[in-house]
Symmetry: D2
Subunit: 175 residues, 4 copies
């Protein structure tokens, strides 16, 4: 289904809790802000300078549910997805572009926080963590897109189908 290669591999940490939305069909769509760290040697000073790159990740389907349920601010995660640049309109009516890493059925997400409070693969929601109301809403059920989530507007891109244009993000600047 592809006559090219478009692959992104990231390991980094979440800058904040995942944002979970649901499509009209009840499929989870999760956004992550992921930081990858690098350091380089300054040519003037010879000092090692840290540099953080931020990535916007969008997960669909099963992997979105797991991400929304178990990842939290600070979580370390492996992401494999593809690059996608989305066009949107600024308040001034001008076109803007946002590049995201899309993780769908062809991608992968691996939680890298082992043992202990941060999550992992353990079943059940760890205590002491803010629960999101629709967390366990089974994909495909109609009860999922509850209040605050009508915003949805995503189609589930399973096996190649693409997310539809999003017209009602919380604010005007999605990145």
């Amino acid at each position: 289904m592809a006559r090219g290669v478009n692959k992104v591999i990231l390991i980094g940490n979440l800058g904040q809790d995942p944002e979970t939305r649901y499509t009209p069909n009840g499929n989870a769509v999760v956004n992550l802000n992921l930081a990858t760290d690098e350091s380089y040697k300054d040519r003037q000073t010879g000092q090692l300078v840290p540099k953080t790159e931020w990535h916007r990740i969008v997960l669909f389907g099963k992997v979105a549910e797991v991400a929304g349920q178990y990842l939290r601010k600070g979580s370390k995660v492996y992401i494999e997805g593809k690059l996608q640049t989305r066009k949107w309109q600024g308040q001034d009516g001008q076109d803007r572009y946002t590049t995201e890493v899309v993780v769908d059925i062809n991608g992968q997400m691996q939680m890298l926080d082992s043992r202990g409070g941060e999550g992992g693969m353990s079943q059940g929601a760890p205590a002491g963590r803010p629960q999101q109301s629709n967390y366990n809403a089974p994909a495909g059920q109609q009860n999922a897109p509850a209040q605050g989530q009508q915003s949805g507007g995503y189609n589930q891109p399973s096996q190649g189908s693409m997310p539809e244009p999003v017209d009602d993000f919380d604010d005007d600047i999605p990145f």
Copy 2:
């Protein structure tokens, strides 16, 4: 030098000829517009729908020289680099962001057009091709940044150093 992973792998075709610039130090900086193709099955119609994703690639150093010299509109190429989002100011004074795939000494570029005239690994510039004046300017020499290219402003990011902000792109909208 890294406490994370930030890797992009692409195979696609150039939408246009490479754009070559030179830094004040005479190092080549090359921009590519790369298309990766995918097709997905439309859920309504069951039709296979082609979809093209465009990527902005920036190459530095030796690999930039090779890209600028041998790649052309339509060339098929393998790219391995990292994601980097650059902030710039629109004419309206507002912040804009552009995400690029940066190919530096840690990255890779492979030409995938095997046929004769289009390039490959062959030495020497093929005949019948528009030559760019500063093509063979050895990196690090002072003759490189000729008129129209003082604009430079890139530092060569070899082994971790970062590109400096670019303040005088041809136009206001670099993507």
Copy 3:
């Protein structure tokens, strides 16, 4: 379905025509011998020395059919798969191990020979090419495992299904 990452990405050329087998279920299993080239600078002489690495690739399912049909000795190809080490018995009864790159439904194969006689995505078998009798045998049909191929014995490892034990390779030394 994975609590780890096991990924291989190769671009190289086939050392010989693909070898196609069929499982008892009529699914294609294709073996490729793939060369990846690299060159390194000899520390004594300073010379650039070419070095070829050979990889054994095994493709299953749909991608196997395409590979068997269109790839030929010399074809350039992109492979994405996973590492798998298989144990087998030498004639002397001792254990041997062979590591292969397995391309199943989670992997990818891209033909990189563009335009012209070498293949590409073109429909129909190019003329003047040795046809293999069972080439177009649809997967899942019983006519596939003809003589010389009962050897099969692979299960298709797509998304979890595993290769069955292989007991009758053509010869004793599969690598």
Copy 4:
């Protein structure tokens, strides 16, 4: 320096402590046994069956020193390297082949155990851990290849140079 792509990306856990050797030049060469886990659905039973794949990793240079110093049995690690198949002679005089994932200056190694005592990026050797005598032997110094390590025989493959044949592994079966 390459006319192909040969890349391996793994995330898994060490089956045992790293084995550190030194070349005659005092450069560290470290071997890891890495397990990557996957599970697949059995087609008969419908059960989810776990499957572990074992990988032999060889690290050279700086990354080898870090690996030897901080990784331990059970450590989770990200590995980026290239495939290399090495020929050796069995006791019976017959050729054997072993495929390894080589991590040199072009590769990467990331420790993924964040928790305290097990390593991470912290300076200095954590207490309560078996120290290896030649741990801090600076590369290139003659004191490194102490007893039990004359075996060495590796050249450091920095930037493309290749490991020389190894003729005196501890035992006859290196994998």
